[in-house]
Symmetry: C2
Subunit: 408 residues, 2 copies
C-alpha cells in the first residue's frame, strides 16, 4: 500500500499544492534563493521548531501565527540569510515577508508562514525579497516543487525530496516533503533541526492529529541525525494537510489509518533526514548506528547519538579504520548504562567485540566493510530491551575547509 | 608567596620524589613509553578517574587499590597502549604491572598504582613491560621528572609540566605535576579526563583533604577543557602528598592554608589543562570562553563548554572569521537560560553584540583579534551572577589528518 514514486517535485506531489523557487539576489552566486509553497485552500497545519534558546526571527513569527490559527495556506522561505540574531528589526522583516505573501495571494496574514536559512547576524536585503515574493507567489505552479527544493539550499550539494503514497478509505493519499541542511545539523526540534523541511499532504486531519503524527515521525528521523552536533537557531519542519484527497478526517474513525499515515510520514522524514546526513558538509559516508539491548529506549538513543557525534569515530570512519575502541568510548560516556563484559559490537556485519572480548582476527574484514558508502554499526548492550537508532556521517578535510573558509 | 619556577622535571620538583622514563618498545618509534614516579616514603593519595562507563583495566586496578589503602608510594604509566576493552586478560595485565613495581621497590602491592594510554582494544606486550618496570624503577632519580613526562605522551607534541611553590607554617611547600593528552580530550573526571596527570607535593595532608582539594582544582581545569569532546576510558589524575616538607598536616589547624594549597594546586592543574588544549591534535589556537551573568554557575559552565566544543565555532576560529552567530547558536542549545535581547558578546575584546543587537562595524577588528594564538571570548547573559570558564582549541585540517590516518 506504500508505493514509492519518483521524488523530484515532492512538495507539490500531493493534490492541491503549488510551489516555485527563484533567485532574487540574496545569494550572489545567482542560485535560487526564494521559495514559496502554496495550498489551493487553507490547510490544517503543524510545525516543530528548534529547541535552541537563540531563536531566529522567522521561527518566532511562524510559531506565533500557527499557534493562533492552526492553519496555513502558504509558506515563504529564503536561503542565504538566516535572519537570526538580527534584533527587533529582524522580527519586523520576518513578519513583513509573511504579510507580503498573504497580500499577493489575497489570504489572511495569519495563514502565511516564513522560514529563513543562511548566515546568522545579518539583516535581510528586504526590498529585493519583498519584490521577489510577488514574483514567486505568481510563479507557483503544480510542477514547481523541485525549483522550491533548490531555492531552500545553502551549502547543500543536492536537493532533498521524498514522497509516499497510501490508500485510506478507498482514496489515494499523498505525502511529499522537501528539506535542506548540510551543516549546523543536529536537530532537536521541540519537542525535540538548521534544517528546514516542508511536508505537504492531501490527507484531511486536525492540527492536533498532525502535530502528534509529526512528533512521532521527527523523533526517529530529523531528531536522530547529526552532521556536526550543532543545533541551529532556525530549524523548522512544517506539515500541511489540505484534505484535497477527499478522505474523511484522519483520527475521526478507525485508528489504523492514523498508524498508516504516521508510518508513511515517518518514512518521508527518515528519507529526508538520511539525505541531509549524506549531504553532510564534506561527508563521504552515511553511518547508521543501531543500539539494542539497552536498559531502555532513551539510553539506547543516547549511546547511538554519542557514537554518531564523536569526532574520533567520525574521523575513524573517514579513514576507513576499524578503531572500534572509539565507538566503545563514546557509548561509555553517553550516559547509557553498560557492562563492558556483555557488549557485542559489529561494523558492517563484522563482529569486533564478543562479550567484551576483542575479535582482532576480524579487523581486516571490518576495514573492508568500512570502504562502503553506507555502513551500519550495531552495538548490543545485553542489558534490556531498549533500542535506538541514529544517523551520522564521517568527518573529512573538506568539512574543515568548508567551515573555516565560509566567511561572514 | 606563589612563585612560579622553571617547570621541566615538575613531577620531581617536590622533595622526596624520584622518577624516570624509558623506551621498552611499546612504541615502535623508539620514543619513551614507560614512566615511573616513586615517593621515598608512602604518600597520602587521592585520585580522580574517568566517568566513562567503559573503564580501562588500569583505572579499575588503581581505583580499587587506592580505595583500600588511601596511600601510594609509586605509579607506573605506559603510553602507546591504553589496556582498555581488553577483557579479563587486560585486568590481570594491569595488576601484574603494579605488582612488579611493588616487587622491584620492596613495598606493599597496595601502594603501587598503574595507568595506561594509547590505542584501545589491544593486549599489552606484557613481557617487555614487566622487564622494563624493573629497569625504570631502578633508574628513577631526583632529576628524572622530565623523562617521565616524555614517556607518558602519545600524540602530544610537547610535554606538559607545571609547578607552584608556597610557604606554609614557615616551610616551603612544593607542588609539581605532569600531564599528557592531545586527543580524546573532554575530561569528565569523577566527580567529573584520555588525559593522565600525576601531581606530587611534599605537603602533608590526609587522603580526604587531598581529594577535596583535587576535586575543587579539577572542576575548573581538567574538567573545563576539551580538544574533541570525546571523554576517554583512561582519564586519571593522581595527587600524592608525602609530607617531606615537614609542615604539619594540612587541614588540622587554621583554614587558610587549605585555601592557599588548593589555589596553588588549581594553578598547576589549570596550566596543565591549558597545555593540553594548546597541544590539542592539529590545534593552532587556545580559546578561553568566559560566560558571565548567567542564571547560575552551572549554566554558565554549560554555555562556555558548548561554545568550546562546537565544530562550527572551532572551524570559525581556525578560519579567523568572526562568525559570532555560531557562538550564539552554541550557547543557545547548551541548555543555559538566555534572553537574546540582553546578550553582550566580545571576541578578543571587540564587541560584536550589544543588548542582542549586532555591531557589524566591529567585524574587521574582531577578525584581526582572531589572528592571535590565544583568544578570549566573553559572553554576558545579563540574567544573574553565574559565571563559568572553559578552554578549547580550533579545528584544523591537521586534526582530521591525524585522526583519520591514526590506524589501528
Amino acid at each position: 500500500m506504500n508505493d514509492m514514486v519518483a521524488s523530484a517535485g515532492a512538495v507539490t506531489f500531493a493534490e492541491g499544492y503549488k510551489a516555485a523557487g527563484i533567485n532574487v539576489g540574496i545569494k550572489s552566486s545567482g542560485k535560487l534563493d526564494l521559495a514559496a509553497v502554496v495550498s489551493d485552500t487553507p490547510a490544517s497545519a503543524a510545525a516543530l521548531f528548534t529547541s535552541n534558546r537563540v531563536v531566529a526571527a522567522p521561527v518566532i513569527v511562524s510559531r506565533e501565527r500557527l499557534a493562533v490559527s492552526g492553519s496555513c495556506q502558504a509558506i515563504v522561505i529564503n536561503s542565504g540569510n538566516a535572519n537570526a540574531c538580527t534584533g527587533r528589526a529582524g522580527l519586523k522583516d520576518a513578519a513583513l515577508m509573511a504579510d507580503r505573501l498573504a497580500n499577493c495571494l489575497g489570504v489572511e496574514p495569519s495563514l502565511c508562514l516564513v522560514a529563513s536559512t543562511g548566515i546568522i547576524g545579518e539583516r535581510l536585503p528586504l526590498p529585493i525579497i519583498l519584490d521577489g515574493i510577488s514574483v514567486v507567489a505568481e510563479a507557483a505552479h503544480r510542477l514547481g516543487g523541485h525549483s522550491a527544493a533548490q531555492a531552500i539550499l545553502t551549502t547543500d550539494a543536492f536537493t532533498k525530496e521524498a514522497v509516499a503514497q497510501i490508500e485510506i478509505a478507498g482514496s489515494v493519499v499523498r505525502i511529499g516533503g522537501m528539506a535542506k541542511g548540510a551543516g549546523m545539523i543536529a536537530p532537536r526540534l521541540v519537542p525535540h533541526a538548521t534544517m528546514i523541511a516542508v511536508i505537504t499532504t492531501d490527507a484531511a486531519a486536525s492540527p492536533d492529529f498532525l502535530r502528534k503524527s509529526l512528533e512521532q515521525a521527527v523523533a526517529v528521523s530529523f531528531n536522530a541525525c547529526s552532521v556536526d552536533g550543532d543545533t541551529s537557531t532556525n530549524d523548522t519542519v512544517f506539515l500541511l494537510a489540505n484534505g484535497a484527497s477527499g478522505i474523511p478526517e484522519l483520527g475521526s474513525g478507525e485508528g489504523d489509518d492514523m498508524e498508516l499515515f504516521t508510518s508513511s510520514l515517518t518514512q518521508v522524514c527518515t528519507e529526508l533526514a538520511k539525505m541531509m546526513v549524506k549531504d553532510g558538509e564534506g561527508g563521504t559516508k552515511v553511518i547508521t548506528y543501531k543500539v539494542v539491548g539497552a536498559a531502555n529506549d532513551q539510553e539506547a538513543g543516547q549511546a547511538a547519538a554519542a557514537m554518531a557525534k564523536s569526532l574520533l569515530v567520525k574521523t575513524a570512519f573517514h579513514g576507513e579504520d576499524p578503531n572500534w575502541g572509539r565507538l566503545l568510548a563514546a557509548a561509555g560516556y553517553s550516559g547509557a548504562q553498560l557492562d563492558q563484559r556483555k557488549i557485542q559490537l559489529q561494523i558492517g556485519g563484522v563482529k569486533l567485540l564478543n562479550d567484551g572480548e576483542p575479535q582482532s582476527a576480524n579487523l581486516p574484514a571490518a576495514a573492508k566493510a568500512m570502504r562502503a558508502d553506507e555502513i551500519e554499526v550495531v552495538l548490543e548492550l545485553g542489558l534490556g530491551n531498549g533500542s535506538g537508532i541514529f544517523y551520522g556521517c564521517d568527518l573529512s578535510l573538506e568539512y574543515v575547509r568548508i567551515n573555516s573558509e565560509y566567511h561572514t
